[in-house]
Symmetry: C2
Subunit: 670 residues, 2 copies
C-alpha cells in the first residue's frame, strides 16, 4: 500500500515524541491535570517536558511556559487539558506542533452545539497542519518507549509490563482496565490509545499506523461504534498484510447497548449484524467477552486466519474432568468439535496421579496431531501450588508451536498465569473466555480480496434519483441479473397484455411501498374477463397497472441490499415469509459478493433447509438463488452508489430457476 | 417437611464429626493419602484423628491403628483412601461408623464392572447402616467448623475465609476452584462437598441437609448431570422453604458437553432444555458462567425469587461509560431493560470529576427508586486506587438493602473486591458474569406448588401397555381433554362412516409410527366414491382404517409429553410444521401444568406470532391451545405414569377451538 505523506513523522510524534507540551498542567498534584507530568516523570520519559501554565513559571519542579509558542525547544506532541481548546490549538499551530491530543470534552460528546464546535476545531486544525487525537481522549501510552501521555490513573502503578499487543480504544477507562488486569498476571502491552471523539485521528488510521509499528505484533480494538468503516477496513487490511492480527471487542450487540452507545459516543451505533459482516470482510477477529480481548493475544500473535473449510476440531488434555468440561461444553455451543488421537473419547483425561512428563508428552502429541486444528490444555489444582507439574511441561511443549494452544487453569493461579504470559502461551482465567478465544480464532477470516469487477451500469431508462415504481425496480433487478417474474404494464382503456393466466395485478404508484396493506394487489386472476373488471376497479383515474404472471415454486426467499450508514454496502439473504422476521433467519455480507460467497450465505440460512431436500422434499435451485444474491449485490458497484435499499421479497425459488416477484428500491436521493 | 430419622446425626457426622478415621493414611507427606491428616492438623481440626494403616503404629506424628475397629474412641466419619474399599466398609460397619467418605475410584466411574461393584458396595453399606459419600469423592470441607476432610490440594493454602455459601459439586476439583478464587478476593464459604459418584448420598439429600444447616445461607451446585431429579427437587423445595436460594451451574448444554458429561460421570447427562425446565420448576436459579456461581452469593443471599410479571429493569450508575456499556449491552441481550429516575437516559453517568458523596447518593436514590427491580453500580479506575471514592459510598448505601445490588469494577481491584465481599455486596470481576447474575436472578422462580390434582384415570378401553394405535391415542387424548378431530374406524367391506367430506384416511397399524413416510395417509378425499376406492387400495388384508374429517385452521402447533429419564415428566409446546425442528421453537415445562402456565408457554413460542394477530392476521384461539397443553400434561398424573412419550403433531389451532389431527403415544412397556 501507499505510504501517506508524513505518516512516519506522525507515528513518531504521536507515539514517541521527543518533547511534549502539557497545556493546562496543574501545580496541584491532586488534580487530574497534574497527572500527565507526574506519570511521565514517574515512568521515566526521557524527552523534554514543557508544562504550559500562563499563571506560573514552575509546575511541580519543572520550568513552565505561558504558551506552547514560548517553549525554547520544538514540541512533537501537545496534550491539551484546558477549556479553551481553540486557543491552545492556535498556539500549537504557531509553534508548528504536528500532533495534539485533546483531553478536554464538550465537543461531539455534548450534543449538536458541541458537534458544531468540533467541526470548527477540526477545520482549523487542518488549516494549521495539526493532527488531533480526541477531543475527549484520555491520551496515549507507549510502554516500551516510556511515554505515558495520559490522565488515566492506571499510571499510578509503579511498573507496567511492556508487550507486543497494542490497543486502540473508544473508551479511555478501558486503557486502565486492560493495563491493570494485564499487569496483575504479567501480560504487557505496547501502545495504548484512547481515541475519544475521533474528530481527526480515527481508529482506522491508528490501526494503519500500528500496522507499521515495529513493536506492535497484534492490534486490539475496544469499540462502541465504527465511525469510519472504510478507514478501519483499510487499516485492518494493512495490518493483515503486515502479518498482524486485529481483534475487536465491540459493544452495541443488543438494542439497549446500541442505544447506550449512541447516547454515549454521539455517533450512530450501527446494527450489530451489519458490523459483524463488516469485521469478517476486512479480516478482523471478534471476541465476545471483554477479558478475551486481554487474554487472546498470545494465541493469535504471529498467526494468519485459519480459513477452515471443515468443522473446527480442538484436542483437549486435562487433569480435571469438570474443569475441561466447563470449556468443552461451550466449544460445543459454538459448533466446535474435539478430537483425540487414537481414541473416540472426547478428551484426554490425565488423573492427578500421572507424572508431569506425561502431561508435556501429551501436549506435544496433540500439537503434532494432524486430526486437530488447535489444542486446549486444562490444569487443575497443580496450577496453583505446583506449576512444575503441568504448567512447566506445557511451556516446554509449546516451543514447537504449530497450532494455537490455549491453557485454562481452574484455580486462582497467578504465578502460573505469569509464567505462561512470560513464555508467550495464551492462558485464560475463565472457561468462557477460553472458549470465546477459540470461536474468535476459528471465525477469523482472511480479508476478502476487493473484487476488481467492472462497475455496473445504471439502466438508461430509469431515473437515478427520486422514487422508483415497482416496474422500474424490476427492470433494475433484471439489468443486474436478478431473475424476475414476467411482468407488463397495462393501461386503460383495455389493459391489454400477453401474459398467460393466472396473473396478479398491482397498482404501480411509487408512493406506496406496501401495496398489499392498502388493497393494491390482486392475486390469482384466472381469466381475461375477471382481469378486466379487476383492473378497472383497481386503477384510480386510469393509472397504469402492473400485471405479473403468477409464480409458484418450492419456497420463498428474501434477498436484499442496503447501503448501511455505518458498515457500508451489504447484501442480505433470508428465509421468506415470516421466518426472516420471526426467527431473524437472515445472513448479511459486505457487498458485492460473488456466486461462491452467495452460496455460503445460502448454506447458513436455516429456513432454506426446505430447499436442500429436508425430509424428502424436492431440492430447489440453490445455484439460481445464489446467482440472484450475487446479482443483487452488484448494486454496490454502481457509480456513486445511488441505492439506499433494495429488496426482492419474495423471490420464488423453483426446482429450476428463481424469480423475484415483489421488488422495492429506495434511492438515497428521493 | 418431615424430618428423616437420624438426619441431624447424619449432618453432624458428615459435616462436623467429633472424630475421624483416615483409612489408608500415608506416612509419606508427599502422597495424596497423607493430605487429609496434614490438612486437618494445619487448619485446626479439634476432634480426634485416627490414621488407619495396618503396617505402622504411627503416621506423621499421630498414633495410628491397624483398623477402624481398633480405635479406642468412637468414629463419626471415616475417610477411605484404600483400594479395598469393601474391606474398609466392613471395618466401619463393625465399629458402627455412621458415615464414610470414599475417595477411592474404580466404581461407576469405571464402566459396567465398576458399576456392579458400586451396587454391591451400596447394598452392603445399607445392611451395615453406613451412609456413603462417593465413591470417587474428594471429600468434604467445613470451613467455619475447621474440618477439611479432603485430599483437595487447595488446603495447602494457609487461610481460607469462612462464609455463608455452601457448595455441592459433582467435580472434586471445583472445590479448589471455588475456594481459591473466592479466597483471592475475600469471599468465604461454609460447607463444600464433593459428591463423587453419588452412590448413596446424592446432591438432593445434601441440599436438604444444607437447607437445615444454620451456618448455610445459600446453596451452590456444580453439576455435570442430575442423577436423582426427585430428590434434588425435594431438597430445593426444602431450601426454598428455609429461605435459602439454590443456584446451579450445570454443564452439558451442548451435545458435545452432554457426551463428555456422560463419558466422565458414567451417568445420563439429560437434555439441557429438559433440565432447564426442571430447575425452573423446583426454584433453582441457574447461572451460565462458572465465575458467576462464586460471585452471585451476596446478591441472592436472603432473597426470594422475584417472580416478576413485567420486563425486568435495572438502574445503572457509573463513572465510566465504556465500563457500564459492557454490562448493559449484555443485559439487553437477556431482554433486561434499564431505567433512570426522572430521565430518559439509559444510565446515570457520573464523570470522574464528581465527588464521592454524589456517587453514594445516587446509589441510594436508585435503591429507593420504585421504577427499577435491581441496581448496578459500575466503577472505573477509582476502584483500584481510591476505594473511598465510589466503593466506600456504595457500601454505605448498600446498608439500606431492599433491591439486589451488583457492582462491576473495570480495573484489577483486589482491595475493593475484598471490601465489598466483607460488606456483603455482590461484586463481579467481568461484565459478563455480572450480567449473567442479573439474568439468573430475574429468571429465578418460586418453586411451583405441586398441584394437588386428582389422579387422571386411564381410559378403560385402552391397554395400559404395548403399542397403541392412532385411534387409541386419539381416544386417550380425548379422555384427557385434548380436543381431537372427528374420527371413526372403518372396516371392510363397505367402510361405512358418517363423517362429512372431505376426509383423510390412514392406516391404523400400531407398528407404523410415521404413516405418511410409508404412503399410509391419504388427504382430502372429496367424495364417498373416491373414499371407497382409496380405502380398498389402502387396507391390507381388510385391516380396519382410520377416517378423519379434514381440519383447517390458522396454524399448526405441536404439543407433546415426555417422561424424561433424567428430568421426569415434561410437557412441550412448539410451532408446527418444520419450525419446531429447524428453529428449535419449542417450550418445555415440568408436567402437569395448569392453563395459566400453559398460556405462558404459548406466549414464549415465537412461531405462534401467527396466532397472535401478527401483521394483521386473524387471531387464533390461544386459550384452546393452552387448554390442550394443560390436558396433555395430565399424562403425568396417571398412576404409574405408563406413557413414555405422546405427541399431537399437528394440533390445528382455529379461530375458535383446536383439534389434534395426528396422535402418537409410546408406552414405557411396549
Amino acid at each position: 500500500m501507499k505510504e501517506k505523506p508524513g505518516a512516519m513523522n506522525l507515528a513518531q510524534a504521536l507515539f514517541a515524541p521527543r518533547s511534549v507540551a502539557l497545556v493546562g498542567a496543574s501545580g496541584d498534584e491532586a488534580k487530574n491535570t497534574a497527572r500527565p507530568q507526574r506519570y511521565l516523570l514517574k515512568h521515566g520519559y526521557d524527552g523534554n517536558i514543557a508544562p504550559i501554565n500562563p499563571s506560573r513559571s514552575e509546575v511541580l519542579g519543572l520550568k513552565s511556559y505561558r504558551s506552547v509558542k514560548e517553549t525554547p525547544f520544538s514540541i512533537d506532541h501537545a496534550f491539551i487539558m484546558v477549556e479553551d481548546v481553540e486557543g491552545a490549538l492556535e498556539d500549537c499551530g504557531r509553534k508548528g506542533v504536528p500532533v495534539a491530543s485533546v483531553f478536554s470534552d464538550g465537543f461531539a460528546d455534548a450534543g449538536p452545539e458541541g458537534m458544531a464546535r468540533q467541526n470548527r476545531l477540526v477545520a482549523r486544525a487542518r488549516e494549521l497542519g495539526v493532527r488531533l487525537l480526541g477531543p475527549n481522549s484520555m491520551g496515549m501510552i507507549n510502554l516500551p518507549g516510556r511515554v505515558p501521555l495520559t490522565v488515566n490513573a492506571i499510571l499510578e502503578m509503579d511498573a507496567l509490563p511492556a508487550g507486543a499487543a497494542s490497543i486502540v480504544s473508544q473508551s479511555g477507562t478501558m486503557l486502565g482496565t486492560v493495563l491493570s488486569r494485564g499487569a496483575a498476571r504479567g501480560l504487557g502491552f505496547s501502545k495504548l490509545v484512547s481515541v475519544g471523539n475521533e474528530a481527526d485521528l480515527g481508529v482506522g488510521e491508528l490501526v494503519e499506523l500500528l500496522a507499521r509499528d515495529p513493536e506492535t505484533k497484534l492490534i486490539l480494538l475496544f469499540l462502541e461504534t465504527v465511525r469510519d468503516a472504510a478507514s478501519l477496513a483499510a487499516g485492518a487490511r494493512a495490518a493483515h498484510a503486515a502479518g498482524k492480527p486485529v481483534v475487536a471487542y465491540k459493544l452495541g450487540r443488543s438494542k439497549l447497548g446500541e442505544r447506550l452507545a449512541r447516547s454515549h459516543t454521539g455517533a450512530l451505533a450501527g446494527e450489530d449484524a451489519a458490523l459483524e459482516a463488516y469485521f469478517r470482510d476486512c479480516g478482523i477477529a471478534r471476541v465476545d467477552m471483554l477479558e478475551t480481548l486481554i487474554e487472546i493475544g498470545p494465541m493469535l500473535a504471529g498467526r494468519r486466519p485459519p480459513d477452515l473449510s471443515h468443522t473446527p476440531r480442538v484436542s483437549v488434555v486435562t487433569t480435571t474432568g469438570g474443569g475441561a468440561a466447563s470449556v468443552v461444553d461451550r466449544l460445543g455451543m459454538f459448533g466446535i468439535e474435539t478430537a483425540t488421537p487414537g481414541s473416540d473419547a472426547p478428551i484426554t483425561d490425565l488423573t492427578m496421579g500421572k507424572k508431569s512428563a506425561s502431561y508435556g508428552a501429551v501436549v506435544g502429541e496433540l500439537l503434532d496431531f494432524p486430526g486437530c486444528d488447535a489444542v486446549l490444555a486444562v490444569v487443575g489444582s497443580s496450577a496453583q501450588f505446583h506449576p512444575q507439574h503441568a504448567v512447566g511441561p506445557i511451556i516446554e511443549a509449546s516451543r514447537r508451536r504449530g497450532k494455537p494452544l490455549a491453557v485454562f487453569m481452574t484455580p486462582q493461579a497467578d504465578q502460573s498465569l505469569a509464567l505462561l504470559a512470560q513464555a508467550g502461551v495464551a492462558a485464560f482465567r475463565t472457561p468462557e473466555a477460553c472458549a470465546d478465544a477459540f470461536q474468535a480464532y476459528f471465525s477469523w477470516k482472511t480479508p476478502r480480496k476487493i473484487p476488481e469487477e467492472s462497475p455496473t451500469e445504471w439502466p438508461k431508462d430509469i431515473p437515478a434519483k427520486g422514487k422508483l415504481t415497482e416496474a422500474q425496480a424490476l427492470t433494475l433487478f433484471a439489468s443486474l441479473g436478478v431473475p424476475t417474474v414476467e411482468s407488463a404494464i397495462v393501461r386503460a382503456p383495455d389493459y391489454a397484455h400477453s401474459l398467460p393466466y393466472p396473473v396478479a395485478l398491482k397498482i404501480l404508484s411509487a408512493e406506496v411501498a406496501h401495496k398489499s396493506d392498502v388493497g393494491g394487489v390482486i392475486l390469482n386472476i384466472a381469466s381475461r374477463q375477471e382481469f378486466e373488471s379487476r383492473a378497472k376497479s383497481l386503477a384510480k383515474k386510469d393509472e397504469p397497472l402492473l400485471v405479473q404472471r403468477m409464480a409458484a415454486g418450492l419456497a420463498e426467499a428474501i434477498i436484499g441490499y442496503r447501503d448501511d450508514p455505518v458498515a457500508g454496502p451489504l447484501v442480505l439473504a433470508g428465509a421468506g415469509g415470516i421466518l426472516a422476521e420471526l426467527y431473524n433467519d437472515v445472513v448479511l455480507r459486505v457487498a458485492p459478493v460473488d456466486e461462491a460467497e452467495a452460496l455460503e450465505m445460502v448454506a447458513q440460512v436455516k429456513g432454506f433447509a426446505v430447499l436442500r431436500g429436508y425430509r424428502g422434499l424436492p431440492v430447489g435451485d440453490l445455484q439460481a438463488l445464489a446467482r440472484a444474491i450475487a446479482a443483487m449485490s452488484r448494486l454496490a458497484l454502481i457509480e456513486g452508489r445511488p441505492v439506499r435499499e433494495a429488496e426482492a421479497n419474495p423471490l420464488i425459488v423453483k426446482r429450476d430457476g428463481a424469480a423475484a416477484v415483489d421488488a422495492l428500491v429506495v434511492m438515497k436521493e428521493e
